[in-house]
Amino acid sequence: MNRAFSLIALAFALVACGGGEKADTGKKATTDTAMMSSGSYEAMEVMDGGTITGVVTFDGAVPALKKLEITKDVNVCGKTAHYDESLVVSQTNGMANVVVKITSIAEGKGFETMSASSEVDQKGCAFIPHISLVPAGAKLTILNSDGVLHNIHTYSEINKSVNVAQPGFKKKMTQTFAEAEMIRVACDVHNWMGGYIAVADHPYYAVTDANGNFEIGGVPAGTYTLEYWQESLGTKTAEVTVAAGASVEANAMFAAGS
């Protein structure tokens, strides 16, 4: 009896260490762990961080700003002229309202160091600033300085789209956006109003100024992919290597219709 058992045991042992091709499960342990670690951003102290600066320019003749027709609440909205802000180029060809960000970074400086716009105002029936930059999960204050009905209607894919009324008497409200995304904002009461909210999942984001300049500081030394996003011309990317304590320039140029 004992012998029979030991024979079977031997057979099992043979099978266990025997060859035989292994079925392909399609996924290996390593990829799993890689996916695990690409989780949420963690803030830490950045010693001797570098700085990325640059200017985003437009390749071609400076396009004229298109004037928008004000058709409603004219006594409030029509005080100043409104222009289509989907492509704003300075006389030096600098492009305003380009969102520049490091595409992927797991650890780095805290959000308090990001030059975020904690509020967006609806003033003269326009969103000011045109692009608001807000950390994911943080409160964005939305003001209504006009005293007429506005609504914040967001068009997003990752975050839940919202459409909230802000009547004239409600001067201030807040919204939070949980996930990083470029979110278009419109007002259905005044159909010419348009803007964007850039929701950032790490603080290495910047919006170019009127002359196309930007600066991202406190970057841990390393090589990164920078992404430049412009609402009507799309995105561009560039590799940039940041040395500890040093400043590096990363310019970009958009061509019409690119």
């Binding site: 024979l7 799993d32 762990t33 409603k72 009324a165």
Partner: protein, 880 residues
Amino acid sequence: MPKRSETPLEERRYGHFFLLLAGLLALSTFWAIWDMLRERAPWQRYQMEINSLEYANTEAELTAEQEKFERRYAAKLETLQQQLTEAESKLIGEDYQSITAEVQQVDLKIEKAMQVYRFAKSEYDALWYEYKHAEHTGHTDEMESLRPKIDNLQTEITALKQAWDDAEAEKDAIEEREAGFRQEITQLQEQIAKLNKPMDELETKLGNISDRKIKIEQFVMAGFVKGNFQSYLDQVDRCTSCHVNEDKGGFDEYNIPFKTHPNREVLIKNHPINQFGCSPCHEGQGEAIMLPHAHGFVSHWPKPLLNETMVEAGCNKCHSSELKVEAAPNLTRSKRMMYDLACYACHEVAGYEKMRKIGPELNSITKKTTNEFIYRWVKDTKSFRQHTRMPNPQFTDQEALAVTAYLNFINKESDYSVPRAPYGGSVTRGENYVESLGCKGCHVVTDKDREVRVTDVTYDMAPELTKIGSKVNRDWLYAWIRNPKQYNPNTSMPKLRLTDNEALDIVAYLTTQKEGNPPAANLAGADLDSEELIDEGKTVIRNFGCHGCHEIKGMEKEGKVSVALDEFGGKTHDELFFGDAIANESVPDDSWEAWTIGKMKNSRLYATEAVVQRMPNFEFSDEDALSMTMLLRSWDGRKIGKNFVKKIGTRGESLEKGRRLVRQYNCVGCHIIEDEGGYIRPTVIEAFKAKGKTEDAALSASPPDLIGEGRKVQPDWLFDFLKNPTTNIRPWLDIRMPNFDFNDEEVNTLIAYFQALEDINRPFSEININLTRAEKRAAEKLYSADYLSCFSCHQVGNKKPEGPPEGWAPDFMLAPDRLNPDWVSDWIADPQAMQPGTKMPAFYPDIAEALPDILEGDADKQVEALRDYLMNIRKFANNL
């Protein structure tokens, strides 16, 4: 050595034979075990493999977690532990030590108090029994003597209970003191546990994986399918022995058999594996646990595993009564094709018995077009309209001539006559009307429309009009677009309530839409009135079954010309006639699939000189042919047990009838219904872009999304609207809701359908909503410009909002008759939840807090006031 035969029997030795045989036996035993484990039990290997992989993955996660921990929290843990040690050392102080002694003392005290109390209680109970006994036996004197004793004991017990409670309270106080001492320690321990939590969880998971048993999994589906002897047979599946993770989330990225079932949330949730198994949907040989046996790719197994393109055929076994099958998009599409293309016109199809004829009637066709066109059309429809729903009869010249002659003959008896259309009409204005009134919801009018239009099917639901001027005559067209039913009472083409001038302009435009190089079709030499030819035409029509789709005089008594399809999917390849197709390699092999796909792509593929094939040619694309093949596969004639077949119920029937009607009238050409349709939108966007307007403006100018319609509108209103549509809900739309001349049954079907979509059943009834004075005062404020500013976008009768019309919102004056009050309140409370993406913003609940003076700042009350005011708004319209 003596010869073996010379050795006496009893002295012969058999040792070496036995050794050899024993060796063989041992080897074959080894081989048997080896074969069983390696070849016959792949499931063991798979289970072991996924377990070890999961183990490795979890271990790797654990290592990563530990590394992260080292990097981020190691220092913190050390500090915490140090603090813990300090806190613990503090406890050694005298205060804490004395607590232990106190607890012991108080425990003793509690014990004593409890005992004394319980003794007293038993004594009391005994006395009470005696007292009651005396009462029942009528010994009043004994009762009287017992009464004071009982009362005394009662007092005593209350006191003793109090003493016990006091002791307990004392203990609680001591323990609270102790907890106070330990509080810091507890907190620190909690913090440490929290830091360790992710790692602890992973370690538990590792333990669970190691404990798994390797075994065969098996499910029995009792009475699944009817056998050859009238009884329903069980089916057994062991598939999950290898397919280990089908019902486990998180394995979507893995390869088969380790992968999670696609769309598990819907498919497995609605069909739990322990009830439905796998083979009822997927086919294959469920009992087998070896490849390829399990997948059924072995001889004499009639139902091998359905591959990726055929798998949804499995759904139709139990869902055959539904036109739309959730989570089976390909099946749904193929069923729609079957319905739209009217396979039931020539074949018996279960569930589609009494159907209308889908083609136009042909008894007055010569008033519409010429004999030359008819001749050319029946020879080759696709050369004139590539996307027509009509399959190509591909008649020979002689057949075409005969059919033309017969149609010409019966048309002479038609009493339909077309008056002459007036002269004039502007091509430009006509083009504009065609673009803006909504014709493009169903018709492709320009090549650009063809380019931008995307629908759920590859054929047109209504005729393409790019060459319409080469087909129909002007007088007929003018009469037709003004009132289509006059020519063809069964048409789906609605009336657009065109004025004579609008109609004339549209006719002017459409008659310019001509074919570039029409093929020569001269019937001058033919004698269409020849009786012989007319008789021949009648025979051709009867044989080919044109009357399946068209009303044709003389064919009233004819039936379906082809075979029933309900068992076609169960045919074997030797029952199918391949003609010369295999010999000349027109089909890849002699399988059922190859035959059917070939037939769908070219219905005359298997015709030979001896065997005539008459099925008109749908000329399906590869994708469409595959869809139809899948549907045919599902009709295999097997009877499925009643516990498995989907019971659609009353609601399902309402949905089914409604869905058929929605397709018949192509409502989805304009409207989005059940998240599908709105096929006109790309053409509206194109037209707006051409005028320099935005896409948003185009979407505002498009027909409305009918999401939640059944809950939104009152059935009375919907009945009237469908019978007699108006354009005053959204006056800014140029697109007109046309008049379909629905009969009462159709309207009621649509109302029941929209309600069934919302899972409600509302009667036709008048709605009266009471508006209190307080509500009226509140609502007047809320509606005004200083508050919610509703009139900023909403029209009220003649009072129109500022700005361009595409920014306006529906007229409040229509609400009392049109909207359901409960829908109105839900809508005001959260419009995005009712119709995602709507322009109507959410005011509530946030606004209510900001308005504490109005109805106490209560959101529900404010919404109700807004609703009640709206439902009564006609009374106040003049004051607004």
